[in-house]
């Protein structure tokens, strides 16, 4: 299942940091890390939006209605994430980061499934979808690692650490494939992608909020 996971660590983990020796170099700031995280989350959202557009543009308008499955059925809806701006603003930095991390981890497996599905998807734009899915998967893992790093920086004691039980399990996948026709494939794909798109927007908003919160001395960066 790690076939698409690159062995290379994310760019920001191995970012050109000078070899610290005897405290002669400066550690990287959280603000910089959050800045990079915001860039990655932005890319995630942009890619998922583009992939959704690719998918929808080739469908007949009538079919679009049928495909409107309520997104409340997404597997990540069980996560207790804020749904309001006020709720979001009330959360602490670490809580927000924890939620982001949980979200990202919940999408590890489903994204891999999406990649696999995209290869055989009966859709004219499946090539574009394929590389987008692959990129999504990779960037999600990158971001997950980066958020972990930020969490470690902000909360070294691990007070806010979460157990992996909280990660939303995803039951879909192999069960759906068996005996499914082309239509179901498409529908499942579309639904899953829509779920991810919504979650990527959530993640992006959270990270950007965190970034702006962290850079209080540079409000113009927001």
């Amino acid at each position: 299942m790690t076939m698409l996971v690159t062995s290379m660590p994310p760019h920001w983990v191995t970012s050109p940091q000078p070899l610290c020796g005897a405290g002669s170099c400066q550690p990287i700031l959280v603000t910089d890390l959050l800045d990079r995280a915001a860039k990655v989350s932005h890319r995630l959202h942009a890619l998922s939006t583009a992939a959704s557009n690719d998918l929808n543009n080739h469908f007949a308008p009538a079919l679009k209605l049928v495909m409107m499955r309520p997104l409340s059925l997404c597997h990540t809806s069980s996560l207790n994430t804020p749904e309001d701006k006020e709720q979001v603003l009330q959360l602490s930095q670490e809580d927000l980061l924890t939620m982001v991390a949980l979200l990202l981890k919940s999408w590890g497996t489903p994204l891999l499934y999406l990649v696999k599905e995209a290869q055989e998807l009966p859709h004219p734009a499946n090539d574009a979808l394929l590389w987008k899915m692959a990129e999504l998967s990779q960037q999600t893992e990158n971001l997950a690692r980066g958020i972990d790093k930020i969490l470690n920086k902000l909360d070294p004691t691990g007070f806010h650490s979460f157990s992996n039980d909280l990660i939303s399990p995803w039951s879909g996948g192999p069960g759906l494939e068996m005996g499914s026709d082309k239509k179901s494939h498409l529908l499942n794909f579309h639904f899953l992608l829509s779920c991810f798109r919504r979650d990527s927007n959530k993640i992006d908003s959270f990270v950007k909020l965190l970034r702006c919160r962290a850079t209080k001395m540079h409000p113009e960066s927001c």
């Binding site: 997104l71 409340s72 309001d84 701006k85 959530k202 908003s205």
Partner: protein
């Protein structure tokens, strides 16, 4: 039987009831289905149903939905159409609620404030009739997908700079994010699109999307009104806001073109005037002015060379000229050929020659040489023509001597030495003997005296007819590249390594022979040979050759012959058997041999050289 019929009747009634009920239900559903079908298949019904027109959230904190009654105008008015919504939370079904706020001020709007707005949560909206029976329209969306921000506000611009020509200028445009959008906290990220155009243009120029709230616009034209508008967009979404208010930009720069006109005219006028003046000067041939304004370009000139010669392209002559120059001085001095020559310093100021360069050169040389040779030169151990007594002689004296062991060496007699016997004095000889003359004997050893010295002396001497005082002669054996005439005694042949000797038996002849080591002839040589007076005949050629046999070795002869053959047509020698007196030097620097072959007994005086004793015997 009746029980059976009753049972059957009951059964029938039940069925009918069921049937009726189902039919009713069917009708209900059919109505629903009809509505749905009408909705989904877009059957162009005669009347347009009420429907949602748009749902929009300006800042992702609230949203509103608007609907339209369509053709059902009877449904206008509050409460006629109702909106119900359902939020699906966390896998729970959610419940239907009616619109929390039917905006009374605006028509057909349902407004959801922050309480009722949830992000990332699917909404379902329905447009129903008043009695909730008829569903006209429904919508489902997430709030974050319907964000359409408000337009930016507070557009203003400042002038950055104006171009030097005053035709263009740059401005810095500033604006602010819409106040409703909470960009400061990062809740929404906006990007902006600036458009501008000149007022009378039809198309807007669209700039690149800008994340910042300022933008520089370059290259606007002055004295043109521009209008600028901005709209914004939530990042990663494709729904733009409305356009902002238009701001007008105008930069007035007074046109200063008039000031440049006179300058241009003045410049043109000046240039034309100067051109006219120059033309006038050139065409009216005011030499003085021309010299002043347009000085002539100096033409390269080599002293001693007639430019005409260059044009003719005669290489040999050119070589001979060049050999006269200083550049060949050293070469000449390096020659083994020791030449000694006598200079005669004629005090006659008559200069009958023209004003040619060569004449000037010769005269100069003459003067120069005169000064330098006033003293006796050292002999340097060579047999020299120079004798101490000779300079005091007030008569022409010359001496020819040859270096021992070098048959080629001969005294270079200037042509004065070869001047014909004074006794032979031509009618032109006007120079009385008594005229004191100063003879200079020059040792060829002095290198600085080597060059062209004999040449000018020849000139002057010839012109002054001083040959009259000479009553001896010598045979010219060679012409040096420098133009000097080599006198050689009869026995002074290359083949014979005899020192100075006299060979009275030798045919005395003035001969012009070329030495082998001089690769070219000097001009005077050429002239001498070529410009023999027409009275001369070609017979001299063979005689010349004959006489050359006496003293001139074969090599001389051989060299001479090709030489002479070149000049065969031109060379004409007077019919003298053994010698010819040089009559004069004509204007072309050639020796005019006296056609009258005067042979006197005094010819026993040999060509070659005379010892001082002989000279003293000759001269009174």
């Amino acid at each position: 039987m009746t029980s059976v019929t009753s049972v059957a009747g009951l059964y029938l009634i039940a069925n009918i009831a069921v049937l009726a009920f189902s039919i009713l239900q069917f009708r209900k559903d059919a109505d629903k289905l009809l509505n749905v079908i009408n909705f989904t298949t877009n059957i162009p019904s005669s009347q347009k149903l009420p429907h949602f027109t748009t749902c929009r959230s300006p800042e992702q904190e609230t949203f509103s939905c608007w609907w339209s009654v369509g053709d059902y105008t009877n449904l206008t008015g509050p409460g006629m159409l109702r909106v119900f919504y359902k939020r699906s939370f966390k896998n729970t079904g959610g419940e239907w609620n009616e619109c929390p706020d039917y905006r009374v001020g605006t028509e057909n709007e349902c407004y959801f404030n922050t309480t009722y707005t949830s992000i990332w949560v699917p909404y379902n909206l329905e447009l129903r009739s008043e009695n909730k029976d008829v569903l006209y329209d429904e919508r489902s969306f997430n709030v974050e997908d319907i964000v359409i921000p408000d337009p930016p506000v507070n557009l203003n611009w400042t002038l950055l700079n104006t171009s030097q020509t005053g035709l263009h200028y740059d401005i810095l445009l500033r604006w602010e994010a819409p106040p409703t959008a909470d960009v400061a906290k990062g809740w929404i990220t906006l990007i902006y699109e600036v458009q501008y155009r000149a007022v009378n243009d039809t198309e807007w120029k669209v700039m690149e999307h800008e994340k910042e709230t300022y933008l520089s616009i370059y290259g606007l034209k002055t004295n043109t009104i521009y209008e600028i508008r901005i709209r914004c967009l939530q990042l990663n979404f494709d729904k733009f806001s409305r356009f902002s208010d238009i701001v007008y930009v105008y930069n007035f720069v007074p046109v200063t073109k008039e000031s440049t006109f006179p300058v241009a005219f003045v410049l043109i006028f000046i240039v034309v005037g100067v051109a006219i003046v120059l033309m006038l000067i050139i065409f009216t041939r005011q030499h003085r002015l021309m010299m002043l304004l347009l000085p002539p370009v100096p033409i390269p000139k080599i002293k001693g060379i007639d430019p005409e010669l260059l044009k003719k392209g005669k290489l040999d002559e050119l070589n001979s000229i060049l050999s006269n120059q200083q550049t060949y001085k050293t070469e000449f001095t390096n020659d083994d050929l020791w030449v000694e020559f006598i200079e005669l310093d004629i005090d006659d100021p008559d200069e009958k020659l023209g004003h040619s360069d060569t004449h000037r050169l010769l005269s100069l040389e003459h003067l120069k040489s005169g000064k330098s040779l006033s003293m006796k030169d050292d002999d340097s151990g060579r047999a020299s023509c120079y004798e101490p007594e000779i300079p005091e002689m007030d008569s022409l004296a010359f001496n020819v001597n040859l270096m021992e062991g070098n048959p080629e060496k001969a005294c270079v007699l200037n042509s004065e030495g070869t001047v014909p016997n004074p006794d032979l004095s031509s009618p032109n000889a006007t120079q009385p003997k008594a005229e004191p003359e100063k003879a200079k004997i020059e040792s060829s050893g002095s290198e600085e005296n080597m060059p062209v010295r004999p040449y000018p002396l020849i000139q002057t001497q010839m012109s002054n007819q001083s040959w009259a005082n000479m009553d001896f002669y010598a045979q010219v054996s060679d012409i040096t590249p420098a133009g000097g005439v080599l006198l050689s005694p009869g026995q002074q042949c290359k083949s014979e390594k005899t020192p100075e000797k006299e060979k009275p038996d030798e045919a005395k002849k003035y001969q012009f022979a070329m030495t082998s080591d001089s690769a070219y002839t000097s001009e005077i040589d050429a002239k001498k040979l070529s410009a023999i007076p027409t009275t001369n005949e070609n017979d001299q050629n063979p005689e010349k050759d004959l006489s050359s046999a006496n003293c001139i070795s074969t090599e001389n002869q051989s060299e001479e012959s090709p030489y002479t053959t070149n000049e065969t047509t031109v060379i004409t020698m007077p019919p003298v058997s053994d010698y010819t007196s040089v009559h004069m030097v004509d204007s072309q620097h050639s020796l005019l041999l006296n056609p009258t072959a005067v042979q006197t007994k005094d010819m026993s005086m040999q060509v070659g050289y005379l010892t001082p004793d002989q000279m003293s015997s000759i001269m009174p």
